[in-house]
């Protein structure tokens, strides 16, 4: 198991390097000019100097190498400095955003809590709802509950977040006026009243995100339970005289959870991707919104870094899912 994990980790490095190269190559083709905003009165030779200061005069492989060094060498040093108060990174150039001329990672760190808070809550809520639904609809297959559950999860699959989001805004903020349609990230929770406000503004984005995730996980849980319910060990357990509760909840559920846990792990990076749209709908200024504004403003270092962070998340959670599968299911041996 350990050798497998190490092998996968080693293999992840070239994968990630290749992905970063693909993203970098794509962005190299970008038509935008970061100097477009500079006034026309600035003479061209000064503009050229400014371009070179941003590192734009070099050949593409040198720019790529500089980005690699900044992202993998300088940024961890900055992190170490921040945690331990050392000064490894003094005077070293970090990945700079063209929009704000400040380090990209600082902006990312500012935006991360909003995304994590909304997306994380949605994911936890969705998993907590999905698992019992999946278990019960598999146990009572083709019952009314199962059919309704299947229909609802089909809807959860099919309704895109940019519609369900707008729809709940129309219903709950425009018509009923219960919840605010805009997520206010400057809101601080200090007492009970402000906590209620925070709760109110979180309900709609969490609901929209959770609907999608619940649909996927509940369907998967149901299928996995159905696979196990007809197996011989279940009949044996019943023949031994175990109660239904023990048979279903401890024997069948534990075996069915193995693939479901990996699916839950695999879904986490996709949620960050899907949250781009939900954040846009509810005006949450998280990572997704940052990416959209960076794309629209032609801020290439920001786009490069953010896209790469998404890729790292995907590769990392793929790895976690594989390792989890091996740990949870002793029949699986990778070596």
């Amino acid at each position: 198991m350990l050798t497998f994990t190490i092998r996968r980790l080693v293999l992840a490095v070239p994968t990630l390097l290749f992905i970063s190269l693909v993203i970098f190559g794509l962005l190299q083709l970008a038509p935008g000019d970061p100097m477009a905003q500079v006034p026309l009165t600035v003479p061209p030779e000064v503009k050229q100097k400014m371009r070179e200061a941003l590192g734009l005069g070099d050949a593409w492989y040198i720019q790529y190498w500089k980005w690699i060094v900044q992202f993998f060498w300088v940024e961890p040093q900055v992190f170490l400095d921040y945690v331990f108060g050392t000064n490894f990174s003094e005077g070293k150039l970090r990945v700079l955003s063209w929009q704000t001329r400040s380090p990209v990672m600082e902006i990312v760190v500012q935006r991360l809590p909003q995304t994590l808070w909304v997306v994380g809550t949605a994911y936890v809520v969705a998993v907590l709802i999905a698992l019992p639904i999946g278990v019960y609809s598999a146990y009572r297959q083709y019952s009314v509950f199962d059919n309704v559950g299947t229909f609802v999860s089909m809807i959860g699959f099919s309704v895109p977040p940019f519609f369900s989001g707008v729809l709940v805004i129309v219903i709950f903020s425009v018509n009923l006026g219960w919840f605010p349609s805009i997520y206010d990230t400057t809101h601080r929770v200090v007492d009970w009243d402000s906590f209620v406000v925070q709760l109110q503004q979180m309900i709609m984005p969490v609901m929209v995100l959770a609907l999608q995730i619940t649909a996927q996980i509940a369907r998967f849980m149901r299928a996995s339970m159905l696979d196990n319910l007809n197996q011989d060990y279940v009949r044996t357990a019943r023949a031994k005289g175990l109660g239904e509760r023990v048979v279903v909840l401890s024997h069948v559920l534990r075996n069915s959870m193995i693939p479901v846990v990996t699916v839950i792990a695999l879904g986490i990076p996709q949620i960050f991707g899907g949250a781009i749209i939900t954040e846009q709908v509810f005006k949450v200024n998280g990572i997704g919104q940052l990416l959209i504004t960076a794309i629209q403003a032609n801020d290439l270092p920001m786009v490069q870094t953010l896209t790469f962070i998404f890729a790292v998340l995907i590769v990392l959670f793929n790895l976690i899912a594989d390792v989890l599968y091996g740990i949870l299911d002793p029949r699986i041996r990778y070596d």
Partner: protein
């Protein structure tokens, strides 16, 4: 010699039943083909039938509807702006007085065409790579690592970047509408072939070990003929199922791009674009948000149910239940 017919044979006692069989009336109905069986199974799936009917109705409404509804989708009648449903405008009008029914039909045509073309492209790429990887052992490792790599790419951000980068050059060479159509179809197709490739490869790997492939090879069938005649017809069912999922995926992706403002130009309606434009007028005219959203959701829902039914119908282990 034996060529003169033997006029009469006395059947022994044990052969009486055999001659009865010969005398029995010939079966009048031909044996059912595979597709008749699939259709029979498919009809039993209520959700799939409903989904299929709804999907056909939407396609007909969108492509045949304009023959009966002659209002131009881009005709601006500023005096009749923001109207509710009436006889002249059954779906009302938008903020520039354009007829919403005509816009919904025009938008549906674009969304459907994008969905189907992108699905065909993804299916073609996926089947090609899947068959090549499954059939030729030398290519397997390379192609599957490529597939894994594509699966690890963050797709939505990359799609956004691709649209941003290539919009201008393609607009310049093909015109704003064709250019963005090509761009979006190619972008969606190139980023969604991976699941098909994986499924097809798995099936091809299993098929390759079967006796009929060995038999075909032993009579000297070439690789091209083998794939076209023996492998491809046997992997049609996973391809058909992923086709339905592909349409749903492509329609949602296109609408998401339009919704983020990186899709088709503003005067060129698609369902996603209509939804995006209507968000600003959500308080006054909520129905303008709901109509395109409902159209997208209904299409995707019907296609998903269709795919579900097809999967069951094409699986011979479930058939006949």
């Amino acid at each position: 010699m034996t060529d003169e017919p033997q006029s009469h044979i006395e059947p022994g006692p044990g052969e009486a039943q055999a001659s009865d069989v010969l005398d029995a009336p010939l079966p009048t109905t031909p044996p059912r083909s595979q597709w008749a069986e699939v259709w029979r199974q498919f009809r039993h799936h209520k959700g799939a039938m409903a989904g299929g009917i709804v999907f056909v109705l939407i396609v007909l409404g969108v492509f045949v509807g304009p023959l009966f509804w002659h209002v131009e989708a881009t005709y601006i009648d500023i005096r009749a702006r923001n109207q509710g449903p009436s006889l002249a405008h059954p779906f009302g009008t938008d903020q520039l007085g354009r007829d919403m029914l005509a816009r919904m039909m025009a938008g549906g045509q674009v969304s459907m065409s994008v969905g189907m073309t992108a699905m065909l492209l993804a299916l073609f790429l996926g089947s090609l790579i899947g068959v090549l990887a499954g059939y030729f052992k030398a290519l397997d490792n390379l192609l599957m690592r490529t597939t894994d790599l594509f699966l690890a790419l963050p797709l939505l951000p990359l799609l956004l970047v691709m649209v941003l980068l290539f919009r201008e050059p393609l607009n310049a060479s093909f015109g704003p509408e064709t250019g963005i159509f090509i761009l979006i179809v190619v972008a969606i197709g190139v980023t969604s072939w991976m699941p098909t490739a994986r499924i097809v490869r798995g099936d091809v790997l299993a098929l390759k070990e079967r006796e009929f492939v060995l038999a075909a090879r032993s009579i000297g069938t070439t690789n091209t003929k083998m794939i076209a005649r023996h492998i491809l017809p046997n992997v049609v069912s996973p391809i058909v199922v992923s086709a339905t999922l592909g349409i749903a995926n492509a329609i949602i992706t296109e609408s998401a791009l339009s919704f983020l403002g990186l899709g088709f130009p503003p005067d060129f309606p698609t369902w996603g674009r209509l939804l995006f434009d209507a968000v600003d007028y959500m308080q006054q005219n909520p129905e303008r948000v709901i109509m395109p959203g409902l159209a997208i959701s209904l299409t995707v829902l019907s296609v998903n149910y269709l795919g579900d039914g097809l999967r069951d119908a094409l699986d011979p282990r479930i058939r006949g239940r």
